[in-house]
Symmetry: C2
Subunit: 233 residues, 2 copies
């Protein structure tokens, strides 16, 4: 166990939240952080439960989501390595505002809320980094509200595919990194609707689906769809 310590320090140093932290603070953190693991599908926290701290994801992915009365799920965001989970609640001392489930085998460091508050007082850079983090999340949520309220599902899907293409596209092929059902939940719809729209887009020659790989055949029209063109879907 002891020989793992150097690894943890390096991990911490490369976590955006802890950028610019002095060595001493990192070492202190290393002594406080608790490593936790979660199985695929395991619940990490539940909406409404009291926040006793937050997580820094080391490996794996976690979905943060809301549930409707009828059980429909809306994914708010997916948290991956080096990102924070539940930090706002820990800072504000409020209950977790949504559920969090591991989407795959996940390991994370847990930082108890009280230690976090002490750290914040001592290290202003942590607060600045966290502000940057919150700002990005706010932007993301703004776009999500816009999409849900002002775009239809084809527009949201096209926007997501083009976004994937920009970040991870190899040629004109993008690989959806989550199941189609989960993608539906991220886009604010249901698997049936997503499936139908993908088929229509295929029929129109806009793309070609094979499993999780999607070849974007007409990005121009996909862009138009994002901007509200009906394109006969």
């Amino acid at each position: 166990m002891n020989e793992k310590k150097p690894d943890r320090l390096t991990l911490l140093k490369n976590t955006p939240l802890f950028l610019k932290l002095p060595e001493s603070a990192l070492r202190m953190l290393d002594g406080i952080l608790i490593e936790r693991s979660f199985l695929k599908g395991e619940n990490i926290f539940t909406e409404g439960s009291e926040s006793d701290g937050f997580y820094i994801i080391i490996k794996g992915r976690v979905k943060v989501f809301k549930l409707s009365a009828e059980g429909k799920e809306q994914i708010l965001h997916i948290v991956g390595a080096k990102e924070l989970l539940g930090a706002v609640s820990a800072f504000a001392g409020t209950p977790y505002p949504a559920h969090a489930d591991a989407m795959e085998k996940t390991t994370a460091f847990f930082l108890p809320g009280k230690d976090f508050l002490v750290l914040i007082q001592k290290e202003p850079s942590v607060v600045m980094n966290m502000m940057a983090n919150l700002s990005m999340r706010l932007q993301h949520f703004t776009r999500m509200i816009e999409d849900l309220s002002l775009k239809e599902v084809p527009g949201r899907l096209a926007a997501y595919l083009l976004y994937l293409h920009e970040r991870t596209g190899r040629g004109d092929v993008v690989e959806i990194d989550i199941s189609k059902g989960q993608l539906a939940s991220l886009l604010g719809t249901i698997p049936e609707t997503l499936s139908r729209i993908l088929r229509k887009m295929s029929e129109k020659g806009l793309l070609k689906v094979s499993g999780r790989k999607v070849r974007l055949l007409n990005r121009k029209v996909l862009h138009d769809i994002v901007n509200g063109e009906k394109a006969g879907l």
Copy 2:
């Protein structure tokens, strides 16, 4: 003009963002802030334009909103006295993510971005106050995404009315503080739909509308509607 200065200082002292600021910093701010006025309906900034600073609203109200390709409007939030407008963009140095229009005659202090960044460096309490602000906004947006994606319009309306009742209700009467058209835009729908749902709720004996005053006659059922009950609407 000079005899107004004491007023400004008092205003600043009572602004959440500047809580706990030393007298000296407040006086410096007072020398930097620029007072600006906007007419009803006037645009304050536009989505995509570069942020050169942010506003502290002194009087009046401002709607922050997105527009769809077809011109439909989604209000993200309404900013009133002592609240901040455009602060995230000023902090992050990103363009404004939405439009802002004055809903009534509004006066505000403008703080140039560069001065804000200097202030942030010098006064950690400002950052903490701003974090608290961002956290609340994030919570608000989370709820908004949940509502748009998982609730229908009657549920969103009922939630809004009950929220108004909690904050400002006199007996069982609440007063909607914006026009019905704007309320529709805030709830992510259109005036026709809002009108129809209000009528149906009246017919079911859940409430009684007279102008902007709404008498809530059956809060229990309204709560049920928030929680996904159809209630025969």
